[in-house]
Symmetry: C2
Subunit: 284 residues, 2 copies
């Protein structure tokens, strides 16, 4: 487990950063926090998620931290590291929560001072809500936690990150390279969100809402989306996402052609293939 | 409620026909059945879903019926009516369970002898399973029941169909023209299935199954699909479905263009629109 003599600084007390602070504090770790929002700082202090925190002039908090957990969107994270990274003491371990990895992990490793080790990780526990007031609703137990080391990372930092995930309550902890992670996330998460959002944007059929059954509701649940964060995630992974969209569009176009040509056998082939593949997913 | 002195003949004892027979028998109605499958007939008799039934030479059952409930796929239904429709007595009321209406309702009304009234209806309670052995799992209470009258239909037949739906346990009973029904079903059901199936067919990413969270599972649940039935439904409604696919593809292509152009503001606009529309669906 994590070392209780250390100080854990959470930078960015949003949905996930707030949850990290809440869980670690509950388990008896010393947690401090930095946020740009006075209301969020107040919430975190009042609810006991952190023991100390600041919205500005926070050099002391950064220098006192042994471990830093970044709960920032990718662009904000990179800006923060550029501006304040030099404040981190050698020996500090740091990780993040970003849903994209290639554009984040190696640039940050390059920016940080010698002796500060950054190891990327992605807690796949996002929700359609945001903000610390919703942190209590987040459930880490059924979510995947993915550690994305690079050749720069030490076995000690990887082990620390795994301890962090276990302490936070994740039961499924795996390891991928940043590139493998971004390929995977483009398919299992971003493409799904792109589809759901496009379906809702395609036409204003809200008058049909009373007829919608489970299929439509299931398909579009994730169309309720945090606009700022998802624009970040999509743009940082655009090459993967565009190629996934193209692959999907090609399959949908094939189905359309089979409809045009009254190709009953071809449609049934697609249905049988999708059924067989989906069954394989249910087994895992 | 329905008249208990009448005989209800279910033609086609699949998932829905079987369920109709089961519920009506349980409630004390006299139910007979026709199926092409000896095993299904045996199941229906053994489980008390019907009191009498046949797989062939069933002219007597047809002539004794006061009400006929067709549980057949559209193409099979049309064939059956062409071949045996003349056996129905004047005064008989009939309905079906088809998921498409334009190609079915008016052709059947034209084919049936004078005095036999067919009124279309669609119990939106399908599942990924099929066959009478799964009928017991079907739940009508939360499903929509849609009556699709044409100018040929009498108020008495519409009222009868509504009574049938209430007796079967549907709580949401509405009325649409066959054309309105097919437009609606193309959007809320068929397009969703087309998307889910295409996503599963797009690439063999089963090695990513261990990383899939709720988004992917929700989106693809309906990709497990009864191939014969859905080929029927798609082809009978292909004009609507193709136009819905085109509308959706256009929206997805717009999103792709915004990615290509790094149009962050445009992406956020789409996310805000989809969020607002999806919220409206949750309220209904």
């Amino acid at each position: 487990m994590l070392d209780k003599s250390k100080t854990y600084l959470v930078v960015g007390l949003g949905l996930l950063g707030g949850k990290y602070a809440q869980v670690l504090s509950q388990k008896g770790y010393r947690v401090t926090g930095i946020t740009h929002s006075p209301a969020t700082l107040d919430y975190a202090l009042t609810h006991g998620y952190i023991t100390a925190g600041k919205t500005e002039d926070f050099a002391d908090l950064v220098q006192q931290a042994d471990c830093v957990l970044f709960g920032l969107y990718p662009t904000v994270l990179l800006d923060w590291v550029r501006q304040y990274g030099h404040l981190l003491r050698p020996g500090t371990l740091a990780t993040d929560v970003s849903g994209v990895k290639r554009g984040v992990v190696e640039p940050i490793q390059d920016l940080l001072p010698a002796g500060v080790e950054f190891i990327g990780s992605h807690p796949m526990a996002g929700r359609e809500t945001s903000g610390i007031a919703h942190s209590a609703e987040v459930d880490f137990a059924p979510a995947n936690f993915i550690i994305t080391p690079t050749p720069c990372n030490t076995p000690a930092a990887i082990a620390w990150c795994r301890d962090l995930a276990e302490t936070l309550g994740f039961r499924r902890i795996t390891q991928l390279t940043p590139a493998e992670h971004d390929h995977m996330i483009g398919y299992v998460s971003q493409l799904c969100h792109a589809i759901a959002v496009s379906l809702m944007c395609a036409s204003d059929n809200t008058e049909l809402a009373c007829y919608t059954g489970d299929s439509f509701r299931d398909l579009t649940r994730i169309a309720r989306i945090n606009d700022k964060m998802w624009a970040e995630l999509f743009l940082w992974n655009k090459d993967n996402l565009i190629s996934e969209i193209d692959m999907f569009s090609h399959a949908l176009h094939e189905m359309r052609e089979k409809l045009v040509q009254d190709d009953r056998e071809g449609l049934e082939d697609m249905f049988r293939l999708s059924t067989a593949r989906r069954e394989a997913f249910d087994k895992k």
